[in-house]
Amino acid sequence: MLDFIIKRFFQVIVVVLLALTVVFFLIRISGDPTTLFLPPDAPKDQIEEYKELLGYNRPLIVQYGDFMFHAVQGDFGESLRSQEDALGIVLSRIPATFQLAISALLIALIIAIPLGVLSAYKRNTVFDKVGVALTIVGQAIPSFWLGLILIYFFAAQLKILPSGGGGTAIHLILPTLTLAAYSVARFTRFTRSAMLDVLRKDYIRTSKASGVPTFRLIMRYALRNSLIPIITLVALDLGVLLGGAVITEVVFSWPGVGRLLMQSLMNRDFPIVLAGVFIIALIYALVNFIADVLYAYVNPQIRVK
C-alpha cells in the first residue's frame, strides 16, 4: 500500500510540472506583456529597456529554465501590476474558491446519490424517466446561462438573494446552485447506471437468497459496490470545481481563483497566471491522488495487492 502511495505521489509531481511547462509555452506564444504596461506611443528603446528589465528578451528556453528553477522553490515572481508576490495573491483567493467548490460538491452529492439510487431501483417508471430527462437537461444547460437566469429571478425580480459578491452564506446560495447543477446531473446519471449494473450481479441474488430486505440490500450491499466508480467521478469534478469555476465566479463576481485567473489573463499578468495554474494543477492532481487512495480503501481487491 505504501509503495502504491509513493508511486502515485510521484505522478502528482510529474503532472504538475508538465502542466506548468505547457502553460508557460502557450502563454509565451501569445506574446509578451510589455506593451500593455507602457503607453501606446512609447519609444522603441524604452520598450526594449523594459523587456530587458523583466527578462523577456532572453531566449525562450533560458526564460523557461529560469522560471522552473524559481517555480520549484515556490517563487513565481511578482505581479506585473501590483508588484505583490504572485503566489501570495493566488493563495489569498483559495479560501473563497474552496468554500464554493465544497458547498457545490456537498449539495451535488446529497441530491444526486439518493436520486440515482432511487432512479435505478424504480427503473423504467415515470419517476425514473423524468429523472433521466432532467439530468440530461442539467448537463446541457451552460452555467453562464443558468447563473444569469438565477440572478434574474432571485436577485432582480424577487430581490431575496444578492446577485454577486462574497462574504456571507447568503452570497453562497446562487453560485453554489449554478455550480452544483452540472455535477448533480452527472452524479445522478452515474449513480443510476452503476447501481443498475450492480443490481444485476450474482452476489445481489445471493444476498436476496439470504433473506436480506430490499432497503438493506440496496443501501448496504449494492451501494458500496456502486460507490467505487463514483469516487473517481467525484474526484474529477472536485478537481474541476476547485480549479476555479471560472465562468460561475465571473458571473457572480465571486472573489475566487477562477475570477483572478480570468482577470490576470486579460491583463497579461503572467506571474499570477502561472502561479494560478500551478495551484490548480496541484489541487487537481492531489484530489485525484486522494481519490485513488480512497478507491483502494473501499475496494479490498486493490488494497491487498
Binding site: N124, K201, D202, Y203, I204, R205, T206, S207, K208, A209, S210, G211, V212, P213, T214, Y221, R224, N225, I228, V298, N299, P300, Q301, V304
Partner: protein, 328 residues
C-alpha cells in the same frame, strides 16, 4: 402429504420482453419428500434454473409472472406470497447455492459480514453467538482457519473455498430444503468430487431435502434418489435414479445417457443428440422433442404426448402409449 416438503403443481411461467411474451416453463409437476435428494437434469435452456428461482421467489418481478399452477412448501402456498413473507423463508427454511462461486459473493464485504446475514435476518442471536455459529459451520464444511477467514474478502479464496462458503451460507439458517443450482459446474474435477461428498454428508447430518440442478448425469448418479428430466420447459421423465439409468423411457433421456463418456469406448466419437433445445418462442404443436428425436413418427409432430405412469416411473412420450399402433 406430510412427508412432502415441496410440491410444484402444473407450474407455468411467462417472461415478458417488451411486447413479446415467452413461456420458458410450461406445466411443470414434481415433488420432493423430506430427506430426499431430487435431481433435475436437462440441457442449458431447459428451464431448470427458472424453476428453482421460482421456488425461491427470486424471479425478476417486473418481467416474469407465474401464470398458473402452485408451489407448496411445507404446507404453505408460495405462489402468491408477498415479498415480505417470502423473505422470511429465504436463507431460513429454503436456501440456495448458486452455480458461480466466483461471482456469487460480494467483493467488498468480508466473508464474516456476508455469512452473518441470514442469522441477523432470521434468528435472534448476539454478535458473539453469530460469530461462533459461523465459525462452527465453516469448520463443518471443511474450511481451515475459519477464525481468520471470516475477516477475509472473497477474492482471497479459491473457487472451491468460495463454494464451501456458499454452502455454509445456505446451511446457517438450518433449512428444510436446500436448492443447489449446478453447484460444481464452475469447479475443476477434483474439487467437484470434494464438494459433492461434502453436500452428501451435510444433507445426511442435517436431515434436509436437496433439490440438485445439474446437467451432469454423473452427478445425478452419485447424489440423487429420484430424477426429473426437463426439456425445453417441460418435464419429460421422472424416475428413481436406478430405474432411470437401467430403463430410460424417453428418447431424450436415452440420448443423455448415451452421450456419457465411458472408460472403454475411447475409439468412437462421443454420441451427441443432434440439434438444439428449441427456444421458448419456437415451440410448435406436437411433442417438444420431436424435431430431434430419432424415433419420431407422424403423430409426434401433431399431438402433445400424454403423461404415462408405470409405477413410479413417469414419462411423456408417444412411444409409451399403450395403443401405439402406428409405430413401426
Amino acid at each position: 402429504m406430510s412427508d412432502t416438503i415441496l410440491k410444484v403443481k402444473d407450474l407455468k411461467i411467462q417472461f415478458k420482453t417488451g411486447k413479446k411474451t415467452v413461456q420458458p416453463i410450461r406445466g411443470v409437476d414434481f415433488s420432493i419428500k423430506k430427506g430426499e435428494t431430487l435431481g433435475v437434469v436437462g440441457e442449458s435452456g431447459s428451464g431448470k434454473s427458472v424453476t428453482s428461482l421460482a421456488v425461491m421467489g427470486l424471479l425478476p418481478e417486473k418481467t416474469s409472472e407465474i401464470i398458473s399452477g402452485e408451489i407448496v412448501f411445507d404446507g404453505k402456498d408460495l405462489t402468491n406470497l408477498k415479498e415480505k413473507h417470502f423473505r422470511k423463508l429465504r436463507g431460513n427454511d429454503i436456501s440456495m447455492i448458486f452455480q458461480e462461486p466466483m461471482t456469487s459473493l460480494n467483493p467488498v464485504f468480508t466473508i464474516g459480514e456476508q455469512l452473518s446475514e441470514p442469522l441477523k435476518q432470521h434468528k435472534k442471536m448476539s454478535k458473539k453467538e453469530i460469530e461462533t455459529a459461523i465459525i462452527a459451520v465453516l469448520t463443518q464444511v471443511g474450511i481451515p482457519r475459519a477464525e481468520q477467514i471470516i475477516h477475509e474478502y472473497p477474492h482471497q479464496l479459491s473457487g472451491g473455498m468460495r463454494q464451501r462458503v456458499m454452502i455454509s451460507l445456505a446451511l446457517l439458517g438450518q433449512p428444510k430444503l436446500m436448492i443447489a443450482d449446478e453447484p460444481t459446474t464452475a469447479l475443476d474435477v477434483t474439487i467437484q468430487a470434494q464438494i459433492l461428498k461434502l453436500m452428501k454428508d451435510i444433507k445426511k447430518q442435517h436431515d434436509m431435502s436437496l433439490l440438485l440442478i445439474t446437467h451432469d448425469l454423473g452427478v445425478v448418479a452419485e447424489m440423487c434418489d429420484r430424477v426429473v428430466v426437463m426439456y425445453a420447459g417441460e418435464i419429460v421423465e421422472v424416475a428413481e435414479v436406478k430405474e432411470l439409468f437401467d430403463n430410460p423411457l424417453h428418447p431424450y433421456t436415452r440420448g443423455l445417457i448415451e452421450s456419457l463418456p465411458s472408460k472403454n469406448t475411447r475409439k468412437n466419437r462421443l454420441y451427441s443428440i443432434k440439434g438444439q433445445v428449441p427456444k421458448p418462442n419456437e415451440i410448435t404443436k406436437g411433442c417438444i422433442f420431436a424435431n430431434r428425436c430419432p424415433f419420431a413418427f407422424s403423430k409426434c409432430f401433431e399431438e402433445t404426448p400424454p403423461v404415462q405412469h408405470t409405477g413410479n416411473h413417469m414419462s411423456k412420450c408417444w412411444l409409451q402409449d399403450s395403443n401405439k399402433d402406428e409405430v413401426s
